[in-house]
Symmetry: D3
């Protein structure tokens, strides 16, 4: 086999980690979910995307960031009706992130960026950021979703009127990042048009007020949008935009 | 003195509350904050706006909603350096909302809308929504910030390049809703332009990645934007948009 | 409209709050409940009384105390069978009070007095006081119920053999403090005599051992005592005694 | 050695415990503290009194009550400055009592009486009672302090103007119940008169508002009152009153 | 009655406790359980053994150790189907031990040894040890089960193929330490041979993987092994080995 | 790239997961740690071993088990002085495992085996097993460390007098399972003989009483034993023994 993966803290020895504190002052934490992704995508889709993006961002940063331990399971109660979904409580995810942060801070890191492939983790990450202002005031804690960073590229794909979970953008990313895990022949459109949604479900699609519904009330097969319409090249475009944005952010952060 | 305030559950007797469960199937919960609002606005600004908006929404709904107990303090660790700010932990706010929800649900209500005047509560409300999917699956739980509902109106006010907390939109709302609490003569612009921000502070203004900084690192006087540029009429326009949007949402919700 | 309410921290700006730390070294926190109060009193009775008493105490102290954020909901599981009651857990109320205290302490206040209109909050406040001895040893934390401060005046009203919740003393206070919220025509006596109670219910009336029963096992209409026997003047006498006692306490506290 | 102690659940086998559920429908739980008791009394004074009183009450009930596991440590943060004091948090004591209660309830008991020798446990027991109303509605949960049950007898002892912790009443009880643990030659008066207290300390002696101070600010030797003035006979009178009151309470409870 | 028990912190005054911090630098904490012990042993068996062993160890150490407050109830969910068992949650036991430790540490002790008669407490004690490394780094925290310290002596007793809870070793100890609590005529063998166990139950007897089953699925009468085969002398041999091992451990600890 | 990894739930779609509930009734959860492993092994050593062993066990079971989401970080406070170590609290790990278990149980699985490469997780897993007896009584929850399953093989390697963390057995496993991650040229013996340990450190090596010390007090380089003495073949022997034992356990479990 080959050498340890560069930029991966887990592959380093403790002595290498000690050097990384100064050489690589940013730690990236990939956060995923373990949840249904429709007929064609695997349960770990969000973790896979987050880990691959972190690899690409770390490579783009040429050693100025290391990748810390993953958060393989996220907050997914809205997918629990679908087999295989494992969800943790917001408080548990918050504790995990805060404890990762505390120990990385103890070793000397001051910049931490959690990259979540699952938007269901956003709210919890927002609360962690608030808590860390008090508990670790010298730590700069940032977090980001993935697809939202490439909104313009996604819009350019020609997405369905209703799209989102396991739809065009997410499927495209996986076709690019982990094509061997996509069951291309089973990809199937889910709810794609507003009129397919119940009146109650429509209320969940308007931003604010935010109304939470379990996914089985939004789409029978767990998909919002049409995953059959996208190609690996679409995914490459989305991923490139995400990675560029994140590299630029960290560049600016390190220069600030 | 006059009669009990209509639509206010707290002003009702238990017998009236029992009737309200069927007559008024939506409960509005105003959520605020107790935090600095610059030289000219009071600490309770966010609660005041939330409570007044709930009054207007309930009036607009003509009895189909009642207003439940307030959440007067929110999650404001980023304002703690400014005197008077009182902040509670996300877990405490989450427990409060979940316990309000559980008892309202016990009495028969199935639709609950938390109206928060403070965006710092958004993340916590998002986690509560996730938790309630599991603990009270028959409850429909919605929440909303205020100003974000009137984004187009705010944009039309001609806001500063940098604007937000205690700035144009918020000051306008208070000039309309509670003018006696605005120290008009002390209103002062805070950070209004990107170039006034430190490089690190600029990173907090771009959406994602989200980077949390305490407010004293963003603006010396606690204000983002220029509160001197707005009028009560501006506030009326913003509030009208918010109230209309919320009444329409509840109308659709009740019809769904 | 008129000016901000004097003594109300929530109506102040952050600069005014900074001055209040030295000018007004005591913070009063009104604590209420959101619970049934029989056929004639509103759910928010306890909060209303606590807030009005705090206003009067602050006025009596002529600027030496400010009123902080309210605690609108208390610990009321014994009233849950009656519509409209919202109760929070002791641990949640304790967290709230401790977090209010921590931030007020952070800004420099060292004397905090929680004024609770609801005796169901007493036990929790007692535990908070114990916890604060360890976590904030320089803070002087005091708390008080209302009616218990005027025991002699209440006794002089000629109360029923069994009296208490929503009975003579509480109704009198509300008739004085918020008459527009009393449904005078619906006030109805509840359990007023020992012989009306079940043998088990009688055991709850003797002080110690303390036995907790839900209120529907004590009184069909949620009232203990006869609220029809009292007048606004009775309430004025009770409230005056409470306010005098509290002003005297704070006077002595500030002089100690 | 002799036989197992009658009435002690811990001395019974599981088969005997199964019989006790119906034969002895009340469970007594002795609760103590592990805290300074001045120069002459042992740290475990409160547990010893609670356990001995439970023995006497169980004997007086002739088999209708059993004694469950003790709570040897209580909530004593106000005594922490004195060597040997061990205090647990209110939340920890509350969890312990609630978990004892849940398992005793699981086996079929429906009446539980916690007998606390330490008044510092009262507030926590009050919160437990509230929580159990919701979690175990069929359980009848009662709790009681000791000395407060014999207020008239204590008053008749001719106590000091200031009296209480490790003072006349408590010392007398221990002289009667566990004379071998009293260092009679070291018993020393503590603060006995109001004028000996600082102005701040005086505020703690008036009931309400309740102000918590650590004990070293009330009395240099940890004693309130004069333990040298009492005799074992005084203690017998106090204990008899306590036991009679408790036996009568349980008699009434079983008959209710 | 006689004098206070030597070595028992609870029997000491605060002044004596202050001296013990230096004279007796080790604190022993007896931990038990309140759980079924088959037809012949009492529910408190584990606490009794732990307390008696602590007495003997403290005596053997001649004043270099004191005995702190007991932990009378442990983690026993696997015995809950048997009447009388009271179990607390691991988190509750952990909080208790950590809070005992924090206060003993506050007074100056730096060596704490928890002696648990119940192996069901082992896992929790292991987690407490881990937590204390971070929260009280100067504290040396040790814990030990009892019977496991005398494995060679137990093997020499000629135990059943399947043995353990309430079996040979435990019964022998109680026959020696508290014979008045053993119902010798009711002692009955439980599951003693592998072939008596269900295939699933056999999987619990092999160390690792560890599989947890409730005890009613292992043995109808709650006993593993044959308690009728042992004598008080067997118990003396087991106890002597345990005490010797513990005295030697503390000797080495104090010399380290 | 190739197909999804067989037996990995994360690589499956929700439909495949639904089939796996019946086809593969055992879920394996790999648990690791993120902690120093001396000069030659990577921080993620324990996770890597756990994941590889789960792969081999699942393969050995030919479809009767699936591999669920990993637990990449464990309880490692004793390694915190060494750079790179990230540790979570026992309560956080316990919550994670319990929440994984609850959702897997919700989908229908009844047999869950956590395979931990890090012995520091053992105590927490023991407490989780106890909690699950109450919360999910139909779930059969098992857990296992790795190296302890191959004690005889390890003994046969000719290990140092003092050996353990990052020593012979662990290094051999990694040389076999992930040789590309071993810095063979940097492997260095740590503490290998009893006389090298301080008297206090020696007390940690005797089983019981268990005394916890941070690792920097046991070994300067974080290693116990001599990792230079072992070969990949040694590792293969250890791993084969572990895998065989686990396959046999699951076989027996499924047959029980």
């Amino acid at each position: 086999m080959s050498a340890p993966r560069p930029h991966h803290l887990g592959d380093m020895t403790t002595a290498e980690a000690a050097e990384a504190v100064t050489a690589s002052p940013v730690v990236l934490i990939p956060a995923g979910a373990f949840e249904q992704h429709g007929p064609g995508l695997p349960l770990a889709t969000d973790l896979i995307r987050a880990e691959r993006v972190c690899d690409l961002v770390a490579a783009g940063l040429a050693g100025r960031a290391v990748i810390g331990p993953s958060l393989p399971v996220g907050v997914s109660p809205h997918h629990r009706a679908f087999a295989g979904t494992v969800s943790i409580r917001p408080a548990t995810l918050a504790a995990l992130v805060a404890e990762y942060a505390a120990d990385l801070h103890r070793h000397g890191w001051r910049k931490l960026l959690v990259v979540t492939g699952h938007a269901g983790n956003n709210a919890t990450l927002g609360t962690v950021a608030q808590e860390l202002l008090g508990s670790l005031p010298e730590l700069e804690f940032a977090w980001t979703p993935l697809t939202a960073l490439a909104g313009d590229v996604v819009a350019g794909l020609g997405v369905s009127e209703v799209h989102g979970h396991s739809g065009e953008a997410e499927t495209a990313q996986l076709l690019h990042l982990a094509p061997h895990l996509v069951r291309a022949d089973r990809l199937t459109a889910g709810s794609t048009a507003f009129h397919q949604l119940t009146p109650l479900a429509r209320l969940t699609r308007g931003g604010h007020p935010a109304l939470a519904l379990p996914y089985e009330r939004l789409t029978p097969n767990g998909v919002l949008g049409d995953p059959t319409r996208v190609t690996p090249d679409d995914g490459a475009a989305v991923v490139d935009a995400i990675v560029s944005r994140l590299v630029a952010f960290v560049d600016a952060w390190l220069a600030a």
